[in-house]
Amino acid sequence: MELITPGLGLIFWMTLVFLALLFLLKKFAWIPILKALKDREDAITDALTSADKAKEEMKQLQFSNEQLLADAKNERDNILNEARKIKEKIIEEARAKASEEAGHITASALENIRNEKMAALTELKNEVGQLSIEIAKKILQRELADPKKQEDYARHLLEEINLN
Protein backbone atom coordinates (compact mmCIF):
# COMPACT_ATOMS: atom_id res chain seq x y z
CA MET A 1 0.00 0.00 0.00
CA GLU A 2 2.95 2.26 0.61
CA LEU A 3 3.66 2.65 -3.10
CA ILE A 4 0.48 4.58 -3.86
CA THR A 5 0.10 6.31 -0.52
CA PRO A 6 1.96 9.59 -0.50
CA GLY A 7 3.96 9.98 2.71
CA LEU A 8 3.42 13.11 4.75
CA GLY A 9 7.08 13.71 5.48
CA LEU A 10 8.03 13.27 1.87
CA ILE A 11 5.36 15.72 0.74
CA PHE A 12 6.66 18.23 3.27
CA TRP A 13 10.29 17.87 2.23
CA MET A 14 9.50 17.80 -1.47
CA THR A 15 7.43 20.99 -1.21
CA LEU A 16 10.15 22.69 0.78
CA VAL A 17 12.99 21.63 -1.49
CA PHE A 18 11.04 22.26 -4.65
CA LEU A 19 10.06 25.78 -3.60
CA ALA A 20 13.62 26.56 -2.54
CA LEU A 21 14.95 25.10 -5.78
CA LEU A 22 12.43 27.04 -7.83
CA PHE A 23 13.31 30.28 -6.07
CA LEU A 24 17.08 29.82 -6.20
CA LEU A 25 17.17 28.59 -9.77
CA LYS A 26 14.86 31.38 -10.89
CA LYS A 27 16.98 34.02 -9.25
CA PHE A 28 20.46 32.73 -9.98
CA ALA A 29 20.03 30.62 -13.09
CA TRP A 30 16.90 30.93 -15.17
CA ILE A 31 16.58 34.69 -15.29
CA PRO A 32 20.26 35.31 -16.16
CA ILE A 33 20.27 32.42 -18.66
CA LEU A 34 17.07 33.45 -20.40
CA LYS A 35 18.18 37.06 -20.47
CA ALA A 36 21.57 36.10 -21.91
CA LEU A 37 19.90 33.93 -24.55
CA LYS A 38 17.55 36.73 -25.50
CA ASP A 39 20.37 39.27 -25.59
CA ARG A 40 22.42 36.99 -27.77
CA GLU A 41 19.56 36.44 -30.15
CA ASP A 42 18.94 40.16 -30.33
CA ALA A 43 22.63 40.81 -30.91
CA ILE A 44 22.72 38.23 -33.70
CA THR A 45 19.61 39.67 -35.31
CA ASP A 46 21.06 43.17 -35.06
CA ALA A 47 24.37 42.06 -36.52
CA LEU A 48 22.65 40.33 -39.42
CA THR A 49 20.42 43.31 -40.09
CA SER A 50 23.31 45.75 -40.05
CA ALA A 51 25.36 43.43 -42.26
CA ASP A 52 22.49 43.38 -44.74
CA LYS A 53 22.24 47.13 -44.56
CA ALA A 54 25.98 47.50 -45.13
CA LYS A 55 25.75 45.18 -48.10
CA GLU A 56 22.91 47.22 -49.51
CA GLU A 57 24.90 50.40 -48.97
CA MET A 58 27.92 48.91 -50.63
CA LYS A 59 25.80 47.98 -53.59
CA GLN A 60 24.39 51.49 -53.72
CA LEU A 61 27.87 52.92 -53.48
CA GLN A 62 29.19 50.68 -56.19
CA PHE A 63 26.26 51.57 -58.36
CA SER A 64 26.83 55.29 -57.91
CA ASN A 65 30.53 54.80 -58.54
CA GLU A 66 29.75 53.11 -61.79
CA GLN A 67 27.34 55.83 -62.64
CA LEU A 68 29.99 58.40 -61.95
CA LEU A 69 32.53 56.56 -64.02
CA ALA A 70 30.12 56.24 -66.92
CA ASP A 71 29.29 59.92 -66.67
CA ALA A 72 32.93 60.84 -66.70
CA LYS A 73 33.53 58.63 -69.71
CA ASN A 74 30.66 60.22 -71.53
CA GLU A 75 31.93 63.65 -70.67
CA ARG A 76 35.37 62.79 -71.92
CA ASP A 77 33.97 61.40 -75.17
CA ASN A 78 31.89 64.49 -75.61
CA ILE A 79 34.83 66.74 -75.02
CA LEU A 80 36.97 64.75 -77.41
CA ASN A 81 34.29 64.79 -80.04
CA GLU A 82 33.84 68.49 -79.70
CA ALA A 83 37.57 69.10 -79.90
CA ARG A 84 37.79 66.98 -83.01
CA LYS A 85 34.96 68.89 -84.57
CA ILE A 86 36.54 72.22 -83.70
CA LYS A 87 39.84 71.06 -85.08
CA GLU A 88 38.26 69.98 -88.31
CA LYS A 89 36.36 73.19 -88.55
CA ILE A 90 39.52 75.24 -88.00
CA ILE A 91 41.40 73.25 -90.56
CA GLU A 92 38.55 73.57 -93.01
CA GLU A 93 38.34 77.26 -92.44
CA ALA A 94 42.06 77.72 -92.80
CA ARG A 95 42.07 75.70 -95.96
CA ALA A 96 39.23 77.71 -97.41
CA LYS A 97 40.85 80.94 -96.46
CA ALA A 98 44.17 79.85 -97.92
CA SER A 99 42.69 78.77 -101.20
CA GLU A 100 40.73 81.99 -101.42
CA GLU A 101 43.86 83.95 -100.78
CA ALA A 102 45.72 81.92 -103.32
CA GLY A 103 42.92 82.56 -105.82
CA HIS A 104 43.18 86.23 -105.12
CA ILE A 105 46.90 86.24 -105.51
CA THR A 106 46.72 84.26 -108.72
CA ALA A 107 44.06 86.50 -110.09
CA SER A 108 45.95 89.66 -109.35
CA ALA A 109 49.11 88.11 -110.72
CA LEU A 110 47.33 87.22 -113.95
CA GLU A 111 45.91 90.71 -114.12
CA ASN A 112 49.35 92.11 -113.66
CA ILE A 113 50.79 89.82 -116.27
CA ARG A 114 48.06 90.73 -118.65
CA ASN A 115 48.55 94.41 -117.99
CA GLU A 116 52.28 94.11 -118.35
CA LYS A 117 51.81 92.09 -121.45
CA MET A 118 49.48 94.68 -122.89
CA ALA A 119 51.85 97.43 -121.99
CA ALA A 120 54.72 95.52 -123.51
CA LEU A 121 52.72 94.80 -126.63
CA THR A 122 51.68 98.41 -126.95
CA GLU A 123 55.20 99.48 -126.48
CA LEU A 124 56.36 96.88 -128.97
CA LYS A 125 53.71 97.96 -131.44
CA ASN A 126 54.74 101.53 -131.02
CA GLU A 127 58.37 100.61 -131.42
CA VAL A 128 57.59 98.42 -134.42
CA GLY A 129 55.45 101.21 -135.94
CA GLN A 130 58.24 103.71 -135.35
CA LEU A 131 60.74 101.34 -136.78
CA SER A 132 58.48 100.54 -139.75
CA ILE A 133 57.94 104.21 -140.41
CA GLU A 134 61.68 104.77 -140.10
CA ILE A 135 62.40 101.86 -142.41
CA ALA A 136 59.64 102.85 -144.75
CA LYS A 137 60.93 106.40 -144.79
CA LYS A 138 64.42 105.12 -145.48
CA ILE A 139 63.22 102.74 -148.19
CA LEU A 140 60.97 105.33 -149.67
CA GLN A 141 63.80 107.86 -149.60
CA ARG A 142 65.93 105.36 -151.39
CA GLU A 143 63.33 104.07 -153.76
CA LEU A 144 61.86 107.24 -154.54
CA ALA A 145 65.16 108.86 -155.28
CA ASP A 146 64.66 107.68 -158.88
CA PRO A 147 61.51 109.27 -160.39
CA LYS A 148 60.90 106.33 -162.58
CA LYS A 149 60.68 104.05 -159.87
CA GLN A 150 58.37 106.45 -158.12
CA GLU A 151 56.07 106.24 -160.97
CA ASP A 152 56.15 102.46 -161.21
CA TYR A 153 55.35 102.14 -157.65
CA ALA A 154 52.53 104.51 -157.78
CA ARG A 155 51.17 102.54 -160.73
CA HIS A 156 51.61 99.33 -158.96
CA LEU A 157 49.71 100.69 -155.95
CA LEU A 158 47.00 101.81 -158.18
CA GLU A 159 46.74 98.39 -159.71
CA GLU A 160 46.49 96.86 -156.39
CA ILE A 161 43.71 99.13 -155.41
CA ASN A 162 41.86 98.30 -158.59
CA LEU A 163 42.14 94.67 -158.02
CA ASN A 164 40.59 95.07 -154.71
Binding site: P6, G7, L8, G9, L21, L24, L25, I31, A36, D39
Partner: protein, 382 residues
Protein backbone atom coordinates in the same frame (compact mmCIF):
# COMPACT_ATOMS: atom_id res chain seq x y z
CA UNK B 1 12.17 -32.45 -15.08
CA UNK B 2 8.81 -31.85 -16.70
CA UNK B 3 7.37 -30.72 -13.40
CA UNK B 4 10.19 -28.22 -13.03
CA UNK B 5 9.62 -26.86 -16.48
CA UNK B 6 5.95 -26.31 -15.80
CA UNK B 7 6.78 -24.55 -12.55
CA UNK B 8 9.17 -22.26 -14.39
CA UNK B 9 6.58 -21.39 -16.99
CA UNK B 10 3.98 -20.74 -14.34
CA UNK B 11 6.38 -18.52 -12.49
CA UNK B 12 7.32 -16.61 -15.57
CA UNK B 13 3.72 -15.94 -16.47
CA UNK B 14 2.86 -14.92 -12.98
CA UNK B 15 5.75 -12.49 -12.76
CA UNK B 16 4.74 -10.93 -16.05
CA UNK B 17 1.09 -10.80 -15.11
CA UNK B 18 1.75 -9.34 -11.74
CA UNK B 19 3.40 -6.19 -13.07
CA UNK B 20 0.45 -4.74 -15.00
CA UNK B 21 -1.96 -6.07 -12.43
CA UNK B 22 -0.09 -4.28 -9.76
CA UNK B 23 0.09 -1.08 -11.74
CA UNK B 24 -3.53 -0.79 -12.65
CA UNK B 25 -5.40 -2.32 -9.77
CA UNK B 26 -6.21 -0.14 -6.78
CA UNK B 27 -5.49 -2.92 -4.35
CA UNK B 28 -1.80 -3.41 -4.03
CA UNK B 29 -2.47 -6.05 -1.41
CA UNK B 30 -3.40 -8.43 -4.19
CA UNK B 31 0.13 -7.99 -5.47
CA UNK B 32 1.63 -9.11 -2.23
CA UNK B 33 -0.70 -12.05 -1.87
CA UNK B 34 -0.05 -13.19 -5.42
CA UNK B 35 3.61 -12.99 -4.77
CA UNK B 36 3.27 -15.30 -1.79
CA UNK B 37 2.82 -18.10 -4.26
CA UNK B 38 6.06 -17.21 -5.90
CA UNK B 39 8.05 -17.86 -2.77
CA UNK B 40 10.28 -20.74 -3.32
CA UNK B 41 11.48 -22.90 -0.53
CA UNK B 42 14.68 -23.96 -2.00
CA UNK B 43 17.79 -24.83 -0.14
CA UNK B 44 19.73 -21.95 -1.46
CA UNK B 45 23.24 -21.27 -0.28
CA UNK B 46 24.43 -20.23 -3.69
CA UNK B 47 26.24 -17.22 -5.02
CA UNK B 48 23.76 -14.60 -4.00
CA UNK B 49 22.66 -14.87 -0.40
CA UNK B 50 20.10 -12.62 1.03
CA UNK B 51 19.76 -11.61 4.62
CA UNK B 52 16.26 -13.02 4.71
CA UNK B 53 17.28 -16.42 3.55
CA UNK B 54 19.64 -16.81 6.43
CA UNK B 55 17.16 -15.45 8.89
CA UNK B 56 14.11 -17.42 7.99
CA UNK B 57 15.54 -20.11 5.77
CA UNK B 58 12.94 -19.09 3.29
CA UNK B 59 13.25 -18.61 -0.44
CA UNK B 60 13.81 -15.46 -2.37
CA UNK B 61 10.76 -13.23 -2.42
CA UNK B 62 10.75 -11.20 -5.64
CA UNK B 63 7.76 -9.10 -4.63
CA UNK B 64 9.31 -8.02 -1.35
CA UNK B 65 12.61 -7.29 -2.98
CA UNK B 66 11.01 -5.16 -5.68
CA UNK B 67 8.82 -3.29 -3.22
CA UNK B 68 11.79 -2.63 -0.97
CA UNK B 69 13.66 -1.05 -3.87
CA UNK B 70 10.80 0.95 -5.31
CA UNK B 71 9.37 2.39 -2.12
CA UNK B 72 10.91 4.83 0.28
CA UNK B 73 13.23 3.69 3.05
CA UNK B 74 14.79 5.02 6.22
CA UNK B 75 18.18 3.66 5.19
CA UNK B 76 20.03 3.82 1.94
CA UNK B 77 21.12 0.28 1.08
CA UNK B 78 24.09 0.24 -1.19
CA UNK B 79 25.45 -3.26 -0.99
CA UNK B 80 24.65 -6.52 0.75
CA UNK B 81 26.97 -9.49 0.53
CA UNK B 82 26.38 -12.24 3.01
CA UNK B 83 26.88 -10.74 6.43
CA UNK B 84 28.45 -7.59 5.10
CA UNK B 85 26.03 -4.72 4.62
CA UNK B 86 26.91 -1.33 3.26
CA UNK B 87 24.23 1.20 4.03
CA UNK B 88 23.83 4.83 4.85
CA UNK B 89 21.75 5.36 7.99
CA UNK B 90 19.52 8.38 7.66
CA UNK B 91 18.20 10.78 10.27
CA UNK B 92 14.79 10.09 11.77
CA UNK B 93 12.61 13.08 12.62
CA UNK B 94 9.33 12.29 14.34
CA UNK B 95 6.46 14.26 15.77
CA UNK B 96 4.53 12.32 18.35
CA UNK B 97 2.05 13.73 20.79
CA UNK B 98 3.36 17.27 20.38
CA UNK B 99 6.98 16.22 20.87
CA UNK B 100 9.89 16.12 18.49
CA UNK B 101 12.15 13.07 18.36
CA UNK B 102 15.34 13.04 16.31
CA UNK B 103 17.79 10.16 16.12
CA UNK B 104 19.70 8.12 13.64
CA UNK B 105 17.98 5.26 11.88
CA UNK B 106 20.85 2.94 12.84
CA UNK B 107 19.38 3.01 16.39
CA UNK B 108 16.78 0.58 15.11
CA UNK B 109 19.45 -2.02 14.46
CA UNK B 110 18.66 -4.19 17.45
CA UNK B 111 16.69 -7.30 18.25
CA UNK B 112 13.37 -5.51 18.80
CA UNK B 113 13.99 -3.02 16.03
CA UNK B 114 12.87 -0.30 18.38
CA UNK B 115 14.25 2.87 19.98
CA UNK B 116 12.74 5.42 22.38
CA UNK B 117 9.42 3.60 22.22
CA UNK B 118 9.27 3.67 18.41
CA UNK B 119 9.76 0.68 16.20
CA UNK B 120 10.45 0.11 12.54
CA UNK B 121 9.05 -3.34 11.78
CA UNK B 122 10.60 -5.36 9.00
CA UNK B 123 7.47 -7.27 8.19
CA UNK B 124 3.78 -7.24 8.78
CA UNK B 125 1.23 -4.63 7.75
CA UNK B 126 3.31 -1.77 9.22
CA UNK B 127 6.45 -2.80 7.37
CA UNK B 128 8.79 0.13 6.69
CA UNK B 129 6.69 2.52 8.77
CA UNK B 130 7.66 3.92 12.11
CA UNK B 131 5.08 3.04 14.78
CA UNK B 132 4.71 3.81 18.43
CA UNK B 133 5.04 0.73 20.56
CA UNK B 134 1.89 -0.06 22.45
CA UNK B 135 -0.09 2.65 20.69
CA UNK B 136 -3.82 2.47 21.26
CA UNK B 137 -6.12 2.86 18.23
CA UNK B 138 -7.42 6.44 17.97
CA UNK B 139 -4.48 7.74 19.97
CA UNK B 140 -1.98 10.33 18.74
CA UNK B 141 -0.35 9.39 15.44
CA UNK B 142 3.32 9.34 14.56
CA UNK B 143 4.17 12.06 12.07
CA UNK B 144 7.24 11.00 10.21
CA UNK B 145 9.33 13.87 8.80
CA UNK B 146 12.47 11.77 8.48
CA UNK B 147 15.12 12.43 5.89
CA UNK B 148 14.39 9.24 4.02
CA UNK B 149 16.19 7.83 1.01
CA UNK B 150 13.90 9.73 -1.36
CA UNK B 151 14.29 12.98 0.59
CA UNK B 152 18.07 12.63 0.51
CA UNK B 153 17.91 11.91 -3.22
CA UNK B 154 15.79 15.05 -3.66
CA UNK B 155 18.40 17.04 -1.73
CA UNK B 156 21.19 15.62 -3.87
CA UNK B 157 19.40 16.31 -7.13
CA UNK B 158 18.43 19.83 -6.01
CA UNK B 159 22.06 20.47 -5.11
CA UNK B 160 23.24 19.11 -8.46
CA UNK B 161 20.70 21.25 -10.31
CA UNK B 162 21.84 24.35 -8.44
CA UNK B 163 25.51 23.64 -9.11
CA UNK B 164 24.96 22.87 -12.79
CA UNK B 165 22.65 25.73 -13.64
CA UNK B 166 24.30 28.43 -11.58
CA UNK B 167 27.63 27.57 -13.19
CA UNK B 168 25.94 27.70 -16.59
CA UNK B 169 24.43 31.07 -15.74
CA UNK B 170 27.93 32.22 -14.84
CA UNK B 171 29.36 31.07 -18.13
CA UNK B 172 26.52 32.89 -19.89
CA UNK B 173 27.50 36.13 -18.26
CA UNK B 174 31.18 35.40 -18.81
CA UNK B 175 31.03 34.94 -22.55
CA UNK B 176 28.24 37.29 -23.32
CA UNK B 177 26.86 37.16 -26.86
CA UNK B 178 29.28 34.39 -27.79
CA UNK B 179 28.76 30.78 -28.80
CA UNK B 180 28.07 28.44 -25.85
CA UNK B 181 30.88 26.30 -24.44
CA UNK B 182 31.06 22.98 -22.60
CA UNK B 183 28.14 22.23 -20.30
CA UNK B 184 26.44 25.33 -21.58
CA UNK B 185 26.27 23.99 -25.13
CA UNK B 186 25.02 20.63 -23.82
CA UNK B 187 22.04 22.10 -22.01
CA UNK B 188 21.31 25.12 -24.15
CA UNK B 189 19.38 23.10 -26.77
CA UNK B 190 17.15 21.74 -23.99
CA UNK B 191 16.54 25.21 -22.56
CA UNK B 192 15.76 26.53 -26.02
CA UNK B 193 13.55 23.51 -26.70
CA UNK B 194 11.53 24.22 -23.57
CA UNK B 195 11.32 27.89 -24.39
CA UNK B 196 10.47 27.65 -28.07
CA UNK B 197 8.67 24.34 -28.47
CA UNK B 198 6.95 24.02 -25.13
CA UNK B 199 6.39 27.45 -23.58
CA UNK B 200 6.05 29.65 -26.65
CA UNK B 201 3.88 27.23 -28.59
CA UNK B 202 1.58 26.32 -25.67
CA UNK B 203 1.29 29.59 -23.75
CA UNK B 204 1.93 32.12 -26.49
CA UNK B 205 4.55 34.75 -27.21
CA UNK B 206 3.09 37.31 -24.83
CA UNK B 207 2.80 35.44 -21.56
CA UNK B 208 5.27 32.56 -21.73
CA UNK B 209 8.07 34.37 -19.90
CA UNK B 210 6.27 34.33 -16.57
CA UNK B 211 6.09 30.50 -16.59
CA UNK B 212 9.58 29.78 -17.92
CA UNK B 213 11.33 29.42 -14.52
CA UNK B 214 8.71 26.93 -13.34
CA UNK B 215 8.72 24.93 -16.57
CA UNK B 216 12.51 24.78 -16.68
CA UNK B 217 12.67 23.74 -13.03
CA UNK B 218 10.17 20.90 -13.33
CA UNK B 219 11.67 19.70 -16.59
CA UNK B 220 15.22 19.50 -15.29
CA UNK B 221 14.15 18.22 -11.88
CA UNK B 222 12.18 15.36 -13.41
CA UNK B 223 14.77 14.66 -16.08
CA UNK B 224 17.70 14.60 -13.66
CA UNK B 225 15.86 12.41 -11.17
CA UNK B 226 14.71 10.03 -13.90
CA UNK B 227 18.32 9.70 -15.08
CA UNK B 228 19.70 9.35 -11.55
CA UNK B 229 17.09 6.66 -10.88
CA UNK B 230 18.64 4.59 -13.64
CA UNK B 231 22.08 4.63 -12.05
CA UNK B 232 22.12 1.63 -9.74
CA UNK B 233 24.52 2.89 -7.07
CA UNK B 234 24.58 5.85 -4.69
CA UNK B 235 23.82 8.73 -5.27
CA UNK B 236 21.58 7.34 -7.98
CA UNK B 237 19.15 4.52 -7.77
CA UNK B 238 16.55 6.22 -5.62
CA UNK B 239 13.11 6.06 -7.13
CA UNK B 240 12.31 9.75 -6.75
CA UNK B 241 10.03 10.44 -9.72
CA UNK B 242 8.47 7.03 -9.24
CA UNK B 243 7.28 8.10 -5.82
CA UNK B 244 3.72 9.32 -5.74
CA UNK B 245 4.36 11.98 -3.09
CA UNK B 246 6.97 13.66 -5.29
CA UNK B 247 4.83 13.64 -8.41
CA UNK B 248 1.87 14.78 -6.32
CA UNK B 249 3.72 17.85 -5.08
CA UNK B 250 4.71 18.81 -8.61
CA UNK B 251 1.20 18.19 -9.94
CA UNK B 252 -0.23 20.30 -7.12
CA UNK B 253 2.15 23.12 -8.03
CA UNK B 254 0.97 22.96 -11.62
CA UNK B 255 -2.62 22.94 -10.40
CA UNK B 256 -2.07 25.95 -8.14
CA UNK B 257 -0.31 27.90 -10.89
CA UNK B 258 -3.07 27.07 -13.37
CA UNK B 259 -5.79 28.08 -10.93
CA UNK B 260 -4.06 31.28 -9.89
CA UNK B 261 -3.35 32.40 -13.43
CA UNK B 262 -6.80 31.46 -14.76
CA UNK B 263 -8.41 34.53 -16.32
CA UNK B 264 -12.10 35.45 -16.57
CA UNK B 265 -12.46 33.64 -19.86
CA UNK B 266 -11.11 30.41 -18.32
CA UNK B 267 -13.58 30.43 -15.44
CA UNK B 268 -16.51 31.44 -17.62
CA UNK B 269 -15.73 28.53 -19.92
CA UNK B 270 -15.86 26.20 -16.94
CA UNK B 271 -19.10 27.53 -15.50
CA UNK B 272 -20.79 28.22 -18.81
CA UNK B 273 -19.19 25.98 -21.39
CA UNK B 274 -19.73 27.38 -24.88
CA UNK B 275 -21.08 25.20 -27.67
CA UNK B 276 -23.08 22.95 -25.35
CA UNK B 277 -26.92 22.78 -25.34
CA UNK B 278 -28.45 24.76 -22.46
CA UNK B 279 -30.23 21.76 -20.95
CA UNK B 280 -26.86 20.31 -20.02
CA UNK B 281 -26.30 23.33 -17.75
CA UNK B 282 -29.83 24.02 -16.44
CA UNK B 283 -31.49 22.98 -14.25
CA UNK B 284 -28.91 20.32 -13.42
CA UNK B 285 -25.41 21.83 -13.90
CA UNK B 286 -24.05 18.74 -15.60
CA UNK B 287 -21.42 20.41 -17.75
CA UNK B 288 -20.03 22.65 -15.01
CA UNK B 289 -19.61 19.59 -12.82
CA UNK B 290 -17.86 17.71 -15.62
CA UNK B 291 -15.61 20.72 -16.24
CA UNK B 292 -14.71 21.04 -12.57
CA UNK B 293 -13.92 17.33 -12.42
CA UNK B 294 -11.73 17.96 -15.47
CA UNK B 295 -9.85 20.71 -13.65
CA UNK B 296 -8.96 18.26 -10.89
CA UNK B 297 -8.36 15.34 -13.25
CA UNK B 298 -5.65 17.20 -15.13
CA UNK B 299 -3.12 17.42 -12.27
CA UNK B 300 -4.20 13.99 -11.04
CA UNK B 301 -3.31 12.50 -14.40
CA UNK B 302 0.02 14.34 -14.34
CA UNK B 303 0.76 12.82 -10.96
CA UNK B 304 -0.21 9.26 -11.91
CA UNK B 305 1.44 9.26 -15.32
CA UNK B 306 4.89 10.20 -14.14
CA UNK B 307 4.71 8.03 -11.04
CA UNK B 308 3.39 4.97 -12.88
CA UNK B 309 5.87 5.26 -15.74
CA UNK B 310 8.91 5.59 -13.55
CA UNK B 311 7.80 3.03 -10.97
CA UNK B 312 6.95 0.57 -13.74
CA UNK B 313 10.38 1.03 -15.29
CA UNK B 314 12.05 0.22 -12.00
CA UNK B 315 9.73 -2.70 -11.32
CA UNK B 316 10.30 -4.28 -14.72
CA UNK B 317 14.07 -3.98 -14.41
CA UNK B 318 13.94 -5.43 -10.91
CA UNK B 319 11.62 -8.14 -12.20
CA UNK B 320 14.28 -9.25 -14.64
CA UNK B 321 16.85 -9.29 -11.85
CA UNK B 322 14.44 -11.34 -9.73
CA UNK B 323 14.11 -13.89 -12.50
CA UNK B 324 17.80 -14.72 -12.11
CA UNK B 325 17.37 -15.38 -8.37
CA UNK B 326 14.13 -17.27 -8.77
CA UNK B 327 15.72 -19.61 -11.28
CA UNK B 328 18.96 -19.66 -9.33
CA UNK B 329 17.02 -20.89 -6.31
CA UNK B 330 15.84 -23.89 -8.30
CA UNK B 331 19.15 -24.68 -9.84
CA UNK B 332 22.36 -22.70 -9.83
CA UNK B 333 23.15 -23.52 -13.45
CA UNK B 334 19.67 -22.54 -14.50
CA UNK B 335 20.14 -19.22 -12.73
CA UNK B 336 23.31 -18.57 -14.70
CA UNK B 337 21.56 -19.58 -17.91
CA UNK B 338 18.63 -17.27 -17.31
CA UNK B 339 20.91 -14.41 -16.32
CA UNK B 340 22.14 -14.09 -19.91
CA UNK B 341 18.65 -13.40 -21.20
CA UNK B 342 17.69 -11.35 -18.17
CA UNK B 343 20.74 -9.11 -18.53
CA UNK B 344 20.01 -8.62 -22.21
CA UNK B 345 16.45 -7.62 -21.38
CA UNK B 346 17.66 -5.33 -18.62
CA UNK B 347 20.01 -3.56 -21.01
CA UNK B 348 17.12 -3.14 -23.40
CA UNK B 349 14.88 -1.87 -20.59
CA UNK B 350 17.53 0.57 -19.43
CA UNK B 351 17.88 1.98 -22.92
CA UNK B 352 14.13 2.26 -23.11
CA UNK B 353 14.09 3.93 -19.72
CA UNK B 354 16.61 6.51 -20.97
CA UNK B 355 14.08 7.42 -23.60
CA UNK B 356 11.23 7.32 -21.09
CA UNK B 357 13.23 9.54 -18.73
CA UNK B 358 13.26 12.26 -21.33
CA UNK B 359 9.75 11.66 -22.65
CA UNK B 360 8.14 11.78 -19.21
CA UNK B 361 9.97 14.97 -18.26
CA UNK B 362 8.90 16.43 -21.59
CA UNK B 363 5.28 15.30 -21.23
CA UNK B 364 4.95 16.64 -17.69
CA UNK B 365 6.40 20.00 -18.75
CA UNK B 366 4.41 20.17 -21.96
CA UNK B 367 1.11 19.37 -20.24
CA UNK B 368 1.81 21.89 -17.48
CA UNK B 369 2.52 24.49 -20.16
CA UNK B 370 -0.67 23.53 -22.00
CA UNK B 371 -2.73 23.95 -18.83
CA UNK B 372 -1.16 27.37 -18.23
CA UNK B 373 -1.90 28.21 -21.84
CA UNK B 374 -5.53 27.19 -21.44
CA UNK B 375 -5.84 29.24 -18.28
CA UNK B 376 -4.38 32.39 -19.82
CA UNK B 377 -5.81 32.25 -23.34
CA UNK B 378 -7.53 35.44 -24.41
CA UNK B 379 -11.03 35.08 -25.87
CA UNK B 380 -11.08 35.45 -29.62
CA UNK B 381 -12.61 38.64 -30.89
CA UNK B 382 -15.14 37.99 -33.57
Amino acid sequence: MRRHFQAILKLFYRTLLVIPLFLFSPGVNSFASTQEGVNLNAANDSVFTKEKIEKKAEGFNAGDMIMEHVTDSHEWHILEMGHFKLLIPLPIILFYDGQLYTFCSSRFHNEERSYQGFSLPEEGPEKGKIVRLGAIPGGPGVYDFSITKTVLAIFISAFLLLVIFISIARSYSRNRNKAPKGMQSLLEPLILFIRDDIAKSSIGEKKYEKYMPYLLTIFFFIFLNNILGLIPIFPGGANVTGNIAVTMVMAVFTFILTTVSGNKHYWIDIVNTPGVPWWLKLPIPLMPVVEIIGVITKPFVLMVRLFANMAAGHIITLGFISLIFIFGAMNVALGYGVSVGAVAFMIFMNLLELLVAFIQAYVFTLLSALYFGLATIEPEHH
